[in-house]
């Protein structure tokens, strides 16, 4: 080790939330590089020290430890030393396509980005033509990572064939699902990957203008994106003449304003137009008539960020990775009551049990696991005996669940599943855009009825009513907000019926 090794410390919001800035202040500033996070959030703040045989990790660090380490030259026998970061089991299993540079380089260091091959996919796209890009993405089998899993190639083909004087690329960074933070990590840790993906999408469909719609709850991501866009423009990597190719693409970041439903693509487009985030009736699909009525590609952050790798290595190489019809890698996010929470990128097909038990290490509280919610607030609750499910869109759909954006929220045995079902309805009522009746009124009535069930009022009759209501919401709602709210409710009911029928109310009555 040299006397003054380079030090890498994340400035990812999650790392900051547990004191990364304090640790940074205790380290020699001239050696320090601030990066994104590797995703091992339970180890944050995680310091990495550059040595001839790789980066050595120290974490989780407190200010005192950091000072001591800096004074003593980062000895490998310190209690917080984790050894070589690349060799940690959490890192070894991963196949990092999207998050290749996340946690490794300074997200705003364009030279480091370029040196690590960041521009290769974009250069390949610039050397290719629009139809070939669309074809490559189609062959890769890439599916939308926002939750619906729609094939990206088909969407791109539709938009590329539409005739219009202006087309748009809109990145959906309204990552509102509880238990998901991979979009945020990428935007903070390697915004270049997303920007490159968006330019490639623009080249593919003939769009010259792009928007990133980022939720306002992510101020760090917004700041990083804006800074990255400015420096890309400064270098001529973005703007009127991308890398001297004569092709143009403009990019702007727009903030959401605290509305969950704006993650639905048509509500997001309304919001981007400066309006209330109300869902649009489809058809027409956004690929034909989207932002300002023009053909628009709306893709999730991770979908777009997968594209540069696909262009660099070819559609076939990407299609070789994955499981069944879910090709490529997925960012799995372990959250909630979990001992080792964080994000890991691996092939589709890994089982939920492997993720939670092997990587997550079980519950944080140490109590038995009772339920896992996969896919955000609209995803199903899966009981402890159902964890052998492979992470794959179809396998989840067959089990009455959904993979969604890959968020996994773990609950221990103290959770009351009837309360969770009630919350699902309350959340829908709170966040419904109000356009369609099943969602707007149904969620209200759902919350009221589950509340009655929890109070022990006409339990059987009310349960029947809830099931009936869920059918109407599923079949009659305009978008996934009302259409999928029944998923957590019905899965809770199916797997944990005793939580609804043995209501606390009866207990309360005897206590009172």
């Amino acid at each position: 080790m040299t006397d003054t090794p380079r030090l890498f410390l994340p400035r990812d919001a999650a790392a900051l939330s547990v004191g990364a800035d304090g640790v940074a202040a205790a380290l020699p500033q001239d050696q320090l590089v601030r990066t994104g996070s590797r995703g091992m959030l339970w180890l944050e703040p995680l310091l990495e020290v550059d040595t001839p045989d790789g980066r050595i990790g120290f974490g989780p660090l407190c200010v005192t430890d950091a000072k001591r380490l800096a004074e003593t030259g980062f000895p490998k026998d310190h209690a917080t030393c984790l050894g070589k970061v690349e060799n940690l089991p959490w890192m070894k299993i991963q196949r990092r396509i999207i998050f290749e540079r996340c946690g490794v380089i300074d997200p705003l260091d364009l030279d480091a980005f370029k040196a690590s091959g960041g521009l290769d996919g974009l250069r390949a796209a610039l050397a290719s033509n629009a139809a070939d890009i669309v074809e490559t993405v189609t062959r890769s089998g890439l599916r939308g990572r926002g939750g619906a899993g729609f094939p990206a190639g088909i969407k791109w083909k539709t938009a590329s064939e539409a005739q219009a004087d202006q087309k748009y690329i809109c990145c959906n960074a309204d990552e509102g699902d509880s238990g998901t933070f991979a979009d945020r990590m990428l935007m903070e840790g390697d915004p270049g990957q997303l920007i490159a993906g968006m330019i490639i999408a623009g080249l593919a469909v003939g769009a010259t203008k792009g928007f990133i719609y980022c939720r306002s709850e992510y101020p760090h991501a917004i700041a990083t994106l804006k800074a990255a866009i400015a420096s890309w423009e400064g270098r001529g990597w973005l703007g009127a003449d991308i890398l001297g190719s004569g092709k143009a693409f403009e990019l702007e970041v727009r903030r959401g304003a605290g509305s969950y439903v704006c993650g639905e693509e048509s509500a997001m487009l309304e919001s981007l137009e400066g309006k209330r985030g109300q869902v649009r009736v489809k058809p027409p699909i956004p690929a034909l008539s989207g932002l300002f009525g023009k053909p628009t590609i709306v893709n999730n952050v991770l979908t777009l960020a997968s594209v540069p790798w696909i262009l660099e290595h070819g559609g076939e190489a990407y299609a070789e990775i994955g499981h069944e019809r879910s090709r490529g890698t997925q960012a799995y996010q372990l959250a909630g009551n979990i001992r080792r929470g964080g994000m890991l990128e691996a092939d589709f097909g890994i089982s939920l049990r492997e993720l939670i038990e092997d990587f997550g290490g079980g519950t944080l509280s140490g109590r038995p696991l009772k339920a896992v919610q996969v896919g955000g607030p609209l995803g199903a609750y899966i009981p402890a005996d159902g964890l052998d499910l492979p992470m794959d869109y179809e396998a989840f759909a067959a089990a009455g669940a959904m993979l969604g954006h890959g968020g996994i929220v773990v609950f221990d045995d103290t959770v009351d599943m009837a309360r969770q079902a009630e919350f699902a309805m309350e959340f829908c009522a709170e966040e419904s855009c109000g356009k369609c009746t099943p969602c707007r009124i149904g969620s209200m009535r759902g919350a009221e009825t589950i509340s009655k069930i929890r109070d022990g009022e006409n339990v059987e009759a009310n349960l029947e009513l809830v099931e009936d209501l869920c059918t109407i919401m599923t079949d009659g709602s305009l978008c996934a907000m009302g259409g999928l709210t029944p998923m957590p409710v019905m899965s809770a009911l199916r797997h944990f019926r005793e939580d609804f029928t043995s209501s606390d109310a009866k207990l309360k009555d005897t206590v009172d």
Binding site: S271, G274, R440
Partner: protein
């Protein structure tokens, strides 16, 4: 007459949204609109004009304009809304519709400093208990659904500062520092 039409417009736009805010909250807002008088504190309206100009008077940038206004004044007052409507050449009803749809915007400077995540991942590590403890200490918090810190919950935010593994004691100390 004007107030009646504003109230009618309010009822129309609100009949279809945020039902769960319950009758009481709707009634409160309705009263605020019917009773004449400006919301928020008096402030320099030229700043609003500058914000609009910064965004090229583009109606599509309305959310950005409202964000900048909210950040600067701590609210989007009726006075500010009037100026934005004028500068963007859109109706005040449009502005009101957008302001009331999104949780980030308020008509008055009554937003608590502290944001507390109450979504599933934070519920799984005791955010509900934390909310009870905070209110027992007389600390007001705004309910947020997800701050993107789901592996290190309960999560909270003060200004733009994200806080992980939050406890009532920690948040009280952070608020005192702020």
């Amino acid at each position: 007459m004007r107030e009646q039409s504003v109230a009618a417009d309010y009822r129309l736009t609100h009949a279809s949204t945020k039902q769960f805010q319950m009758a009481r909250r709707a009634l409160n807002s309705l009263q605020r609109i019917i009773i004449p008088g400006e919301s928020c504190v008096p402030h320099d309206i030229d700043v609003v004009a500058k914000i609009c100009a910064h965004h090229n008077h583009d109606p599509a940038a309305l959310l950005e304009i409202l964000h900048d206004t909210q950040e600067h004044f701590g609210c989007v007052s009726d006075e500010a809304a009037r100026r934005i409507a004028q500068d963007l050449n859109i109706s005040r009803a449009d502005i009101h519709g957008v302001r009331s749809f999104y949780g980030d915007f308020t008509r008055d400077t009554d937003k608590p400093k502290l944001k507390l995540c109450r979504a599933e991942a934070c519920q799984a590590v005791g955010s509900e208990e934390l909310a009870r403890r905070l209110s027992a200490r007389g600390i007001a918090s705004e309910t947020i659904y997800c701050l993107g810190n789901c592996a290190l919950g309960p999560a909270a935010m003060i200004g733009k500062r994200l806080i992980g593994r939050a406890s009532a004691e920690l948040l009280e100390a952070e608020l005192a520092d702020d």
